[in-house]
Structure formats: structure tokens, C-alpha cells
Assembly symmetry: C2
Homo-oligomer: 270 residues x 2
Amino acid sequence: MNSEELYRQIKRKKSFLCVGLDSDPALFPQLLRHVQYPIFEFNKAIIAATAKYAVAYKPNLAFYEAEGNQGLHQLEMTVDFLRKNYPDIFIIADAKRSDIGNTAKRYARAFFEKMNFDAVTIAPYMGYDSVGPFLEYKGKWSVILALTSNKSAADFELSNMQTGEPLYKRVITEAMKWGDKDNIMFVVGATRPEKLAQIREYCPDNFFLVPGVGAQGGSVDEVAKYGLNSKCGLLVNSSRGIIFADNSERYAVTAGEKAAELASQMARYL
Amino acid sequence: MNSEELYRQIKRKKSFLCVGLDSDPALFPQLLRHVQYPIFEFNKAIIAATAKYAVAYKPNLAFYEAEGNQGLHQLEMTVDFLRKNYPDIFIIADAKRSDIGNTAKRYARAFFEKMNFDAVTIAPYMGYDSVGPFLEYKGKWSVILALTSNKSAADFELSNMQTGEPLYKRVITEAMKWGDKDNIMFVVGATRPEKLAQIREYCPDNFFLVPGVGAQGGSVDEVAKYGLNSKCGLLVNSSRGIIFADNSERYAVTAGEKAAELASQMARYL
């Protein structure tokens, strides 16, 4: 999928919502405790309830790996389910991978061939080597961590380089040379909206994947105000605020309501 | 395992060799093409042939994830096999993970509880949040990327900060505040031995995990010369140089010979 196709989907659904499938079985409602594939059943119900309001889903690999090979199996089932039933959906593997060339190649194969993801999040510490192999897949995306939503982003990302620019800006400037608006996105947290405006200035065309709305305190309005470009250029993610808004047996219905709420806030900007 | 126990094992075996299990089925000898668990069979044979000469094994997750849930299953089988047959071996998940607190917690659970690894490699870009949850496990280790062996380490790791120090030094200095020599190691590539000496100076006590010997061009002698401390303080990794030295049916025998060679180079320094 290229950026134009993603934008078309955004306009059609009047939403730039990404639903984070941080599907932690410890937080599941009771009724899922004894089924054979609890993560998959949970995801299916969440997807069915939210797909009208979302253009993207983002399973975070940690929650699947924590369940061992059974977790990874249910991740594969989830991606297959999305592909079959919602062929237009953009699917992001939130894996934050980073490794040298020959290894990055294997990760690219895992996420783009073995599983049919559209995009993978990548930690940029090791430089170009860790991104290049992902960029060889046409129509697939590298989502590079720039300024993350967590508190300790201050430890390194916000530190100034000798040139006076912070590390996250350096990462963005370098990464813009590696690819273009059709294969590179940046992760920019919603928790620092004033930075979002700056980042949009020196990076006008790329999509931003914006976590941190909801549980982490960011707001759709601020993100839209500072981050939108003429082709939207935003995917705003909410995970816990949607999927764990309700842990009763009505969990999917509530998730749908929460997604609809966010989408209606987004529609005003499209 | 703490640093003293690791050092005891190193003295006993007269080796600080770590064997990298980058077990890529595409490079396996013909005779493994049609068995049910080719990765596990390969690993078992490699381990049996090299365990006398190695104190640590380091499966790189990419090669297992590339095979989907069947790959992860064989990773679990490999760790179980090591634990049962070589209880003293130090096992590192080369995962280079990095994520915010609640997600890092799940990764820690995956690697330390679900699978019984001793250590996990971590990319430090997102700061303390991405390491803290791993440090809560007593006797387990965080192996933090500092100066990696790849060419594009120059993109960010070697860039100078406003303070004049390179980013990798900043990472080391910060991370030394998060833990101690019993739970923090640093990845320092063998491909820049002159830097290794500097890093040892401002980080005298921590273990370094040193990749880049063999296929990537680093040498045991240089690494030992610049990196050793009074308690060894080194785990030198070789992956392809050992496990893929020979792709005939004698692959395990040759792997044993290559491991023995490296160990004999190491013995001189112990």
C-alpha cells in the first residue's frame, strides 16, 4: 500500500485511527479464560466492533511473544483474519526491531513474507543497516522510532547533538534520505504536541504514527492541530483506551464505542 | 547467574566464547532438509559439538521468528535442551528489544519466565523505560547495545553529543546508573578495537558482549588485548564463523573444531 492508497482509505472512513492490539490475556474478560485461542478470539471481537472506525491495526509483538509459540500462532491467525475480512486495512507489526543487515533481512522476511504485515516499527539506534532490508520490499513500510511517547525519551532522544539538534531530529533527517513518503513513517508521541509541530515542519510529507492518545494523556485535537498535512499524514494509535476500556462481557461493544468516539473527533479534520 | 558465577565458568572452561545460534534453515546441510524440526536438530548437533568450548549461547530471534510459530517453538526446544543438558551455560536472547514500560514488562516475561533465558539484548534508544522492567528479575541480565559491529553504527552511535562525547558513551554512562556489573552488560563490536580500550576505561567492571569476530573481521587477540578486565569481563561471540563453517554433513564436527580454535586463542588470556 502506498501513501495515496492509505489516504484514500482515511478519507473514505473519515478516520485516521489505528487500534493497538496490545492483547494481554491477563486483562481479558472472564468469558475468554477457557477458550482454546483466547488472544485470537479477543482480537476477532475487537476488530469486528472497531473496523468501521479504524484504518489500521497494530499488534504489539511483546504481548504475543509473552505467550510463547502459541502467542505467535494467534498473531498469525489475527493477521490472516484481517487480510481475509478487511483487505484494505493497514497492519503494523509493532516490533521495534533493530539489527544488522543479514539479521534485519530475516526480520523483514518474517513480517512481510511469513506474516503479511504492511509495516514494521524499527528502533534506529544501529543506523541504516537496520532499516535498509525492510525498504527493499515494495509497498511495505518502515515505521522508525523518532520521538516516542514515554517519559525516558528524555534520556537519549531529546538529548542535543553537537550540531545543536536533538537526536530524534538527527534520526528523522537521516532516515528521510533512506526512503520516501511511501515507505518511511515516523513514530512521534502524542505526549509532546509542541514537538509535533516542529517535526511536521522539517518533515512535511511523511506519515506519523502517533501513540500516546488516551491512557498516556495525549489528545486527538492537539495531534491533529500540530501534525496534519494536506494528505492527513497521521495515524493516531489508541490501544488500552479502546481494547481494555471495559473488561466485562460487553468489552467489544465498549471498544466499538470508544473507537467511534475517537473517529468522530478525527472526522472534523478530514 | 551473577558475574562471579559467570567468571567461574569461564575459568573452568578456559574460554569466554559465546556461540551465536543464527540458525538460518536456508544455510543448513541437505540432510536436515526433511526432518520435522530442522532448526532444533541443527542446534542440538552444534551445541553437542561446541559446549566444551563455549560458556554461552546466543540465539538471534530473527532467525526463529522468520519461521513463524514453528520457529519460536524450536527456539523453546533449544533453550530447554540447553537447560537440561548444560545447566551452567549462559543463554542470551539476541532480541534487541526496546519498548515502553508496560510492553517491556511483557518482553521480560517472555524471555525470563516463559523461556528461561539468562539475558536479553536491548536497544537503548527509548531510554530507561525500555530497560527497567528487565532489571527487576534477580539473576537476569540486560545486554545493552552500545557500539555495535556494523558499518552504520556511524550513523548515530558514533555521533557526538553536545557534551562532546559520542552517543554510545552517553548510553553507557546512563546505563551504568540503572544497574551494576551483575545485571548490565554492553554490546561492543570487535570491529573497532581501539574504541574497546576507551570503553573499558570508563566502564571497568561490566561484562562486554563482543560480536564481530570472524565473518565480520574482528580478532580474539585484539579484543582480549583491549577489552579484558581482572574478571575476564568478556563474552566474545562468533556465529556464522562456527555454525556455518561447513555445510556438508560434517557441519557439527567442523563447528566443534572452529569453536576449539577460538577457545584455544582465549585460553592464553585466562
